[in-house]
Symmetry: C2
Subunit: 328 residues, 2 copies
């Protein structure tokens, strides 16, 4: 059976999740796709750091080693920050690799040039994992847009912020304690700035904007507020009046095609669709012309949800390239 | 530009919705698919009945007229009941047509033979519209199953029942008044038995079961209870204690692969994910091994939501057949 050679860039939580799922589902993927997948290389930052064993896999801190693998076809990217991720993916595309990324910081900025580069090379960019973790909002939106137009998108796009707000309310934990807990559980990064400042939600909103509206608003004109100024006292007061804080990212297109976006905390009551979205969950609502409002809810972070949608991207891309159709 | 000839079987609410959307989106579909679509025939039950004008389209009450259209490639089916829908679709498949159905009564029973027949003829069956209206649960589930296994499915699958329960609570309407209103709004059929008895939700649950687990439980062993015995008094009592009635369909697979399903009203509190699902909305939650719990919420009935997902099925099938990939 023909083999697909794949590499993973970055071996943190998500990278390890991909490795685990690919190995666990290898036989099933063989059956459904008619092609075997082999993770043949992993790019890491620090060769000295302890990491799970990956027998038979080239582990390197030099991207050139990966680039030079003969017949490499798929690159899973789970690094943070714009660079060197963007350069690596450009080089992978130039070599004829499909790329599947979880990197929202990079993709929010480079989605258009990266996809154009892929198109001209006849390969695909999978980016389901960049936005809303395990929630398949990218595929759903792509499919909807075949027939519908989207008027507005509203959602909870940062699982860490939602987890912290939930813990502050349920456990009456101060902000700092809830943040520490989120870090211990692997939801928040060691440097939580992007999560709690609203920047992470903002980047995801920009990815959704590019897909839904074919463009993004001027980044400097979007008001972005995080959850870092919400005190336990604020949360208690809201609770006493039956309300909950939610960190909401939203974008709307007016009749002239202008985009209006904002990111920040909102107080919502029991009838609001985001009221019941608790813990590390994300939710995204799409207002469309034919379907009306469609909402997706699921885990917005975590090793397996994020890695799972990346392997689903792989199955979709390889299924298409192999000329058969993904059916059950 | 090559043209795809399509026919619509049944010209009620959903059939008319398809006709309208296909005509409104024709230019966009041309651009995205590189193929034009033409609705060239409509099958109706009663030629004497008044209906919207469809200039240039063959309108007939004889399926043979449709079967004999040279080069017909797609059949949209929006009839109710098993027969003659199933026979018509078999004949369409035998002629080499892709079929796209909204008929849950037929499809819950014949999903396996219909899909096998289509496979052997090299055509596709689209059935997103059979389950949960405008909510793309079929596509989401198919995609998830590439990597995940599903343990449990739980949802509100009948928009009419949910609309009636919502109106009884919000407007303090008796059951009969709320039902009449649902009929006026086009949510409930003239004969509302399938909706209010739970049978409609049951059929949709069986479609999800076939897809998620590759089989269905013994139909006779599933307890199916409708909303027809819930009184205004019951709803008021629940409301006074902060609870809401929801009509819930659920199915679970145990470790031995046995399926356990039930359909009936449940009382839920504000923290339950189905508490905030109001009106004609449907919701489906999928418990999966890697992603965790994913929930989709959207309109469970209505002309445009249902017709829209059928046209999306068309775009998906034709995109695949034409050998290109649906991307935005």
């Amino acid at each position: 059976m023909a083999k697909i050679k794949a590499a993973i860039l970055g071996f943190g939580t998500v990278g390890q999740g991909i490795y685990h799922i690919v190995n666990e589902k290898r036989e099933d993927l063989k059956k459904s796709l008619g092609l075997d997948i082999e993770i043949c290389a992993i790019l890491i930052n620090n060769l000295a750091k302890e990491r799970p064993e990956t027998p038979g896999v080239l582990v390197t801190d030099d991207f050139e080693d990966i680039e030079n693998i003969p017949g490499l076809q798929v690159v899973f990217e789970a690094i943070v920050n714009e660079e060197p991720a963007y350069s690596y993916l450009c080089r992978a595309i130039d070599k004829g690799c499909h790329v599947i990324t979880a990197n929202k910081v990079m993709f929010s900025k480079y989605s258009i040039p990266l996809q154009e580069r892929a198109k001209s090379r006849g390969v695909f960019v999978g980016y389901e994992a960049t936005t809303a973790g395990g929630v398949p909002i990218i595929k759903t939106l792509k499919n909807l847009l075949q027939v519908n137009s989207v008027k507005k998108i509203q959602g909870i796009l940062n699982g860490t912020s939602n987890y912290i707000l939930t813990q502050m309310r349920l456990e009456e934990s101060p902000f700092e304690d809830a943040l520490k807990e989120a870090q211990l559980l692997g939801y928040a990064e060691a440097d939580p700035y992007n999560d709690i400042s609203g920047q992470d939600a903002f980047r995801k909103l920009m990815i959704l904007s590019a897909l839904a509206f074919g463009k993004q608003p001027d980044w400097n004109e979007v008001r972005v507020v995080g959850i870092d100024e919400i005190t336990l006292e604020d949360v208690r007061k809201a609770k006493d009046t039956g309300l909950r804080y939610r960190h909401v990212a939203e974008i709307e297109q007016d009749e002239n095609g202008e985009l209006y976006a904002s990111v920040g905390p909102q107080l919502v009551g029991p009838d609001h669709p985001l009221y019941a979205i608790e813990g590390v969950n994300n939710a995204v609502s799409l207002d469309t012309n034919y379907i009306g409002t469609l909402t997706l809810v699921g885990p917005g972070a975590g090793m397996y949800p994020t890695a799972s949608v990346m392997v689903e991207d792989y199955a979709e891309i390889i299924g298409k390239r192999a000329g058969f159709f993904i059916t059950i």
